[in-house]
Amino acid sequence: MEKRGRIGIPRALMFYRYFPFWQSFFETLGWKVVVSNGVRQKGKIVYFEDSCLPMKLLVTHAIQLKEKVDHLFIPRLVSLHRNYIMCPKFRGAPDIVRLATEGHVPILNETIDLREGEGALLQSYLKTGKRLGATKKETKRAYLEAKKTFNQFQKEWKDRINRLPTGRLFEMDIPTPSEGSKASWRVALIGHPYNLYDADINKDLLTLIKSLGMEIITSDSLSEEEIERGVRDLSKEIYWSSGREIVGSLFNFLSEGVDGVIFPTSFKCGIDALLQEFIKRRLKIEGGPSIPLLILSFDEHTGREGLVTRLEAFRDVMEQRRSDGQIAVS
């Protein structure tokens, strides 16, 4: 089919969860999807205000794309879950990008606010489809196709994250490998998806974790009920949807089945700052974590050494727990 034009998707923020959905949606509608490359080691990060690193990266990626595409896709994410809401920066993201790209490129910025119910998601995509000149029927078909792709992707996630290089996790034309080497440890990774999977933020934490013999599991492999169980007994509902997911999955992982939990955070993130404090206090009441918990704080450092030291020490702590005080010396 003749491509209608190019949609640019910045490799930032919720790209690291919903890209398979977005790509499938636009491609089914006959558009070509173009993704930015990232800053890697030598690239410059664009500063527009004293924001968190993930938000600075969104702007950097959007600027990279602005000359190459007909539209940028940056949905206005207000709520992705019942009465939980997203950080206000997500709400402002399309506007921030519009300022930073100086109106060079139209932005598809329809609001996604699921406090109005799950049906609001389709409504939002119908508006996006309309802006791209698609009929309601075409858009609905693309939406269902995207949903199917996304569900399949989530099913394969555990294999993808453990067996593919970090840069390939979201490349949908790369098939999911089914076999891999056996890891010694099962480690849960919790946090905002972009902090977990963006190598520009976390200096490729995933590769490092895997090289130390750890198998990764994430909240994606928990059911909605399991996450809910983790937050059900809190005296007050957590306001943020990411916070609910992080705390809900943490308490689930701590109670069963993993050797350790790693929580990468953004230095400037208000939600992460509150969650860290909350988690530490909650664990203190319960008499300390039942399994090793490592909280990592990321900003614009380029050095990896501090990260390596913490992860190696974390591995040693898990090792000593398992072998009754012995540390591997080989």
Binding site: F267, K280, H301, G306, R310, E312, G325, I327, V329
Partner: protein
């Protein structure tokens, strides 16, 4: 059996020890890197060798500290271990019932939580070096006093001043202000000790259970002002090991001893006579754009690292 060498290369100083048959410290060296870690390692080896009379057989070498990989390639180490584990090992043998380790070094500060001789939790300072030795060092220079005299000066204070401790830049501004008002150097120095300790407890120690016995080590443990300030805040007296300044190196040596090596990789003490240097280049083979480092000894490349894909480090073996 045998003698073991431990080297701990931190951000500010390099520590080397030789442990004898019964784990006794036969020689130890503590020197500043002055930004040249390779020379510091060579000098450290020279110093420990001189202390044992110019000749000793070494059965294994362990390295630790933030430049442990560099040190390992340079000397030919048998074991490379992170400094958290190395410090813990040294303490567990020294004081098996220890429950907490406070380690404050040049740019890193750590807390290690031990239960029944096993590390169960640890923490390190996060994005800044507030509350570490290099901050004290800078301020001592600013006040024109030696870092060695710093701690004892703090003990002579009558009315320690309060100095903002959240951030070293704030602390410095605040300190200059106190000087200009006319507070005595002793009171300012004591105030700095208090602010460093508060910073440590609020950042590194936050949320950690600090049970006694608490062992205090690292270069800053030499500072009696800091020790007293910590004891005041924690309301408990601290245990300071005799070799507090080289505990990481001792841990590395003990760990390598446990490995029961058949043969050591150690390049030998004549390493100190060789010309050693490193050079780096950026690989453009893939998107990782690794910064690859080569180690040269007498102008030959003897080791190579930094390549995520390991293409260069295997080249030398081929």
């Amino acid at each position: 059996m045998g003698n073991y060498l431990g080297i701990d290369v931190g951000s500010i100083t390099t520590k080397s020890v030789i442990l004898g048959q019964d784990d006794q410290v036969l020689a130890k060296s503590y020197i500043r890197n002055s930004g040249r870690p390779i020379e510091a390692i060579q000098k450290g080896l020279e110093e420990v060798l001189a202390q044992v009379g110019g000749s000793i057989s070494i059965h294994g070498v362990g390295t630790t500290g933030s430049a442990r990989h560099l040190a390992a390639y340079l000397v030919g180490a048998d074991l490379i271990k992170n400094e958290i584990t190395a410090h813990a090992i040294a303490v567990v043998d020294f004081l098996p019932e220890a429950k907490t380790i406070i380690e404050i070094g040049g740019q890193d500060s750590k807390i290690i939580v031990l239960r029944n001789g096993v590390v169960v939790d640890f923490g390190m300072n996060t994005v800044c070096a507030a509350g570490t030795g290099s901050f004290l060092d800078q301020q001592a220079t600013r006040l024109g006093i030696s870092i060695e005299a710093f701690g004892d000066l703090a003990l002579q204070a009558d009315h320690p001043v309060r100095i903002a401790g959240r951030c070293t830049v704030f602390a410095e501004t605040d300190m200059i202000h106190k000087q200009q008002i006319g507070h005595s150097v002793e009171d300012i120095v004591a105030g700095l000790c208090d602010s460093l300790v508060k910073n440590y407890l609020n950042n590194v120690g936050r949320g950690k259970e600090m049970l006694s016995p608490i062992v205090f080590q690292g270069g800053v443990a030499a500072n009696r002002g800091i020790q007293k300030a910590l004891e005041r805040e924690l309301e408990v007296s601290l245990v300071i090991p005799k070799h507090f300044d080289v505990m990481g190196a001792i841990g590395a040596a003990k760990l390598v001893k446990r490995a029961n090596l058949f043969k050591t990789q150690f390049r030998g003490f004549d390493l100190t006579q060789k010309s050693c240097s490193t050079r780096g280049f950026e690989c453009s083979e893939c998107e990782n754009q690794c910064e690859v480092i080569e180690l040269l000894m007498n102008h030959h490349v003897v080791a190579c690292w930094g390549d995520l894909c390991e293409r260069y480090r295997h080249r030398e073996k081929a």
